[in-house]
């Protein structure tokens, strides 16, 4: 018998943690999602059914799913758009203080409490906040209930933008500045070099940044909870009410499994497709 490499032993605690804290629970959740719901009882009924999943195809659910996705797509696009120049400046600015300041800002936001940031957004962008007039430029009045959508989007953008920016910092660092110098020596302007040399090379990282942002948005729970005012309901919120308010575990489990599949499809499936398309 071949001796296991020493490294394999180091995987043991991690493997156990994955198995017991993720694999096992998700398997139990899957089993739970296939049980029939007995109204008024905490225990699921006997037998197996797909009814909990069929229920999710009702127009009301599809509407919430679409709402979640729509906001997620907008926020992800904006976060790549905002993160790219920021990340580029953090890597290529000629002034070391600018580079360091921007990196410190991004790392600081990454480790800063999201609750505190969402609260700050409520204070700054809410109807009494000093930034409300800018929020009104979306065409939705800050006093109207629909403004919650704008606030949730702003909250999610504040959450995803630093993450995407740091991903792009990694990508820009990996590109040699020689490429831009070469373009410049061939007569390209600075903007030209960035647009025609740097951006195409960074495109794969921008696509994965977009997808990670999308996955972060659609699985986010706290932004719609704190800023949604009950008007913006994400699928994550639905799952929580299933559990907390109605006690319908099988249906909550079915929503959970669907969300899990969706999130993995975005991160791994779409990413693989994008890689192939960019090649």
């Amino acid at each position: 018998m071949r001796r296991l490499p020493f490294a394999a032993w180091l995987l043991l605690p991690g493997g156990l943690a994955l198995l017991l804290l993720m694999g096992g629970p998700v398997a139990v959740l899957l089993a739970e999602s296939l049980r029939p719901f007995v109204p008024g009882s905490m225990r699921p009924g006997e037998g197996l059914t797909l009814q909990n999943y069929r229920d999710l195809l009702a127009p009301a659910y599809l509407f919430y799913a679409w709402e979640t996705f729509r906001i997620g797509l907008i926020v992800s696009a904006l976060s790549v758009l905002g993160a790219a120049p920021l990340a580029f400046a953090a890597v290529r600015s000629p002034r070391p203080a600018v580079r360091k300041g921007l990196l410190a800002l991004l790392v600081g936001l990454l480790v800063m409490s999201l609750i505190a940031r969402l609260y700050a957004i409520e204070m700054a962008w809410g109807s009494l906040g000093p930034l409300a007039p800018i929020g009104a430029l979306t065409g939705i009045a800050p006093r109207s209930p629909r403004y919650a959508e704008v606030q949730v989007a702003i909250g999610l953008l504040h959450f995803t933008l630093p993450v995407v920016a740091l991903m792009l910092v990694g990508a820009f660092r990996a590109l040699s500045p020689r490429l831009e110098e070469a373009a410049a020596s061939l007569g390209a302007t600075r903007a030209d070099a960035v647009l025609s040399v740097v951006l195409p090379l960074a495109a794969p990282a921008m696509v994965s940044g977009f997808l990670v942002a999308l996955a972060m948005c659609i699985s986010n729970f706290i932004a719609p909870l704190l800023l949604g005012r009950g008007v913006v309901v994400f699928t994550t919120s639905l799952m929580y009410t299933r559990f907390a308010d109605i006690g319908n575990y099988p249906s909550g489990a079915a929503i959970g499994i669907s969300m899990l599949l969706l999130s993995f499809a975005v991160v791994y499936g779409l990413a693989a497709l994008a890689r192939r398309a960019l090649r």
Binding site: V26, L81, L225
Partner: protein
Amino acid sequence: MMRWLDLPLRLLARAGVLVTVLFLLVPLVVACVLSFDDRSFLGPFPPREWSLRWYRGFLDNPAYMDGFWMSVQVALAAGAAATIIGTLAALAVSDPRLPGRAVWEALFLSPKFVPTVVIGFSLLVFTARIGIFDPFTRLVLGHTIITLPFTMRAVLASLIGLRRSHMEAAMSLGATEARALWDVAVPAARSGIVAGAAMAFVLSFDEVAVSLFLSDAFTQTLPIALVAEMRANLNLTIAAVSTVFLAATLLLVLLLDRLIGIERLAGDVGARG
């Protein structure tokens, strides 16, 4: 491209950077200023009178203080567990002789893409099934699995520069593999271990979704208490808490910059996906 477009485009990029930085910073400044507001209600910005009443309100509220200590304990326990497990896993995955390295790496990163509500809900059902009902244990377990990808990733990123030949040199001088890892690889991974541990502590300290499912009425973390307060009545106590969080974040970033340097840190925590 037209040469005359160069300047406008560069100005546009600069404006983009400026707008993004303002977008990220202004809300934090607003909350910070409001936390010193003397008015007892939420009024228009900026405040006219100043006081520390919201800070006293926070310190005098036992729900917040209990939650704070609970969060510290959970974050320390889960952060330590995730750092140790994640470091071991990263050391294993960085070994070129390990079969299926890419698969293992993807597996260890995967909890990051499981929505936290799903982790919370499934762990609730699972721990009930296997007979774990103690909320503290449940919280630590839940927080360990959600922070594990971050510690693993940070350590792995910091190990990229480690040369296999250094390990082999140590072993050719008679070190066992464990000894070589401890003396060569672990010191090389120091920045990633520190960055990962900091990330794990912070993420656990701020976690809401998992904690909502796994805590009970007597075991509340600080975020749970804050979220309950924010949903019940929006007042400025939370502005004071946010300002404290902001100050703590600044200190943490300064400390991490001292320990490992911000450039390296950005590489360790930034590498994702």
